[in-house]
Symmetry: C2
Subunit: 342 residues, 2 copies
């Protein structure tokens, strides 16, 4: 190692020796405890700075049985919704000098379940998560919860678990999206969605179904296309097949990665948006406004959802918050653009 002088490691013992104090005093002085004299505190702080003392987080965690670390479990990081949510979480976590350990499930139940081993070891004090779309059995989550670690769900929540949850009004958003398409003149609206069990998909599908039914349309199963939850381009073919057979004049895409797939499918089939098919998608992509044509989106308050989730988690961690678990529903926003123009 280039100049790794491991021996100059300075810990509390070093400081104690330097100042002729005990490590106990050092410890208290550094934590600004009330029963240390102001002058001693100053001497300790000064020495710490001078010798470049850095506390060992693991020793502290081991001793205190708490880690000042939280976990974030999300399906995917290369997704605007989730990355914006992380920025929101981080805006709360960082100032508190907490750390965030980010786990990516890649929408796989197996990966997700295996991560929970780690979490039970006291590695983290709390968890913020969005469930993998392939997760059906939630035993791993319940087990962790029983150890007393607080969990806050956001967006993709577990219906069968009692915990704090931050979601958007998925039912209404999809209902509004469908209504918006109907008003734009669509008569045959399809739902393009992904496989899996997240509650948000059920809610979005229900909103879609009810909007159609209430407007006198019959919802056929053929009108619902299920794509892969992988971020691959096989979905383009699935959507192309659907467009060819069912010939919808309107599409609601339920998750971000389906926006590009839908556009490409239409393009390859020489279908023009919005003339031949109108499209609306649940997405937070900043480029929606400059797409060809600009895309009507349902924009979720990702940053604020993350922020809220973190705030609630810290409320639980500090004991400040100990009422019943709450479910916070934050409004999404339908932003009409050219892809749904008449």
């Amino acid at each position: 190692m280039t100049g790794g002088n491991k021996n100059d490691k300075v810990n509390m013992k070093t400081l104690a020796k330097e100042l002729n104090l005990s490590t106990a005093t050092i410890s208290k002085a550094l934590r600004d405890s009330y029963d240390i004299s102001p002058e001693t505190k100053l001497r300790v702080m000064e020495a710490a700075r001078r010798l470049n003392y850095v506390p060992n987080a693991y020793a502290s965690s081991l001793r205190k049985q708490s880690s000042n670390t939280i976990a974030i479990i999300i399906p995917e990081i290369a997704d605007s919704f989730f990355s914006q949510a992380i920025n929101g979480i981080e805006s709360i976590v960082a100032p508190k000098k907490y750390h965030a350990l980010i786990y990516l499930s890649h929408d796989s139940y197996e990966r997700e379940a295996s991560m929970f081993n780690d979490l039970a070891s006291g590695r983290v004090d709390g968890l913020i998560m969005s469930v993998a779309s392939s997760t059906q059995d939630t035993g791993h989550i319940k087990t962790l919860q029983e150890t007393g670690i607080p969990i806050v769900f956001f967006d993709r929540v577990c219906e069968d678990i009692t915990a704090d949850k931050i979601v958007t009004d998925d039912y209404n958003s999809a209902y509004n999206a469908a209504t918006h398409l109907l008003q734009a003149g669509c008569k045959n609206i399809s739902l393009v969605t992904i496989s899996g069990y997240p509650s948000i998909l059920t809610a979005r599908e229900q909103g879609y179904r009810n909007a159609l039914t209430e407007n006198g349309f019959v919802v056929k199963d053929a009108g619902i296309v299920t794509c892969s939850n992988k971020y691959t381009d096989e979905n383009v073919n699935i959507i192309k097949a659907h467009l060819t057979t069912v010939k919808p004049d309107g599409i609601i895409a339920t998750v971000e990665q389906l926006a590009t797939a839908t556009y490409l499918a239409c393009d390859e089939l020489k279908l023009q948006i919005p003339r031949d098919v109108k499209v609306v998608c649940f997405t937070n992509q900043i480029t929606a406004a400059i797409l060809n044509p600009s895309l009507t989106t349902i924009l979720q308050p990702a940053y604020d959802m993350g922020k809220q989730a973190a705030e609630i988690l810290f409320g639980r961690l500090s004991g400040r918050l100990n009422e019943a678990k709450q479910e916070l529903i934050m409004p999404s926003q339908l932003i009409a653009r050219a892809s749904t123009a008449r």
Copy 2:
């Protein structure tokens, strides 16, 4: 806490008591050490599973003085290049049962520098980073490096630090982008870039300058627009002002977040791409192909860069790799689309 039965915490002592063995034996058995009898190993494994034993990572880290954790420092997470790079890093880190602690500098030198305190505490075994654009003084990085922690830079590297580096061929990419615009008929090409010191910006600017000069053009400083490195929309105005005064017929945008700003600026000024202005941008956004018009991009191999960075880091950590530091240059790809059509 809901059913938090803290007292059933099972550690090695519990297992030892259960099986009438010492904790040393338990420890070795669990690590599959050669000097434990197969039957004992089986008994230990079985008991561990039965009692739901989870090792305490912090105790282990404290004792071993290594944490099986690496740090990733990047400017921003809501950026396709960086999030794809993280996926690449994670593809190497996860199978090794390592953890990745992600730190976001938000392109601020102060934030970045303050993170380095944390890292010196033995919290992480190694670091993969992309430097904040506002970082000029690299003392904090050098200090950490001197403690013997291996550092691998990717994309935004530090010129004045000897370390492993993964970059793309920024000079050539910009050179090619400029040549591409010239071939498309541009006579007045501007560079839209961000403020800050990353070497990649210098390289990209140099590629731009040389391509123009070699083709008989004079590069004026007015042809280079410097935007904010914040992910805000004030940049739209900066670019609008430039378009109005300098009236370029071609634009090279050096970083992802400037693509949307450039498009919006043109749109607001009713300038048509590619008729009035041709645009090429360094970006990994998946939506580039479906923009209006589709955007000519310089696509960096983000995922592979992350993967390589992680592989080199693990090479250093394992001691397998101990030759001189290497600088790996990975090729970017210019993907011509409608925004630069003649």
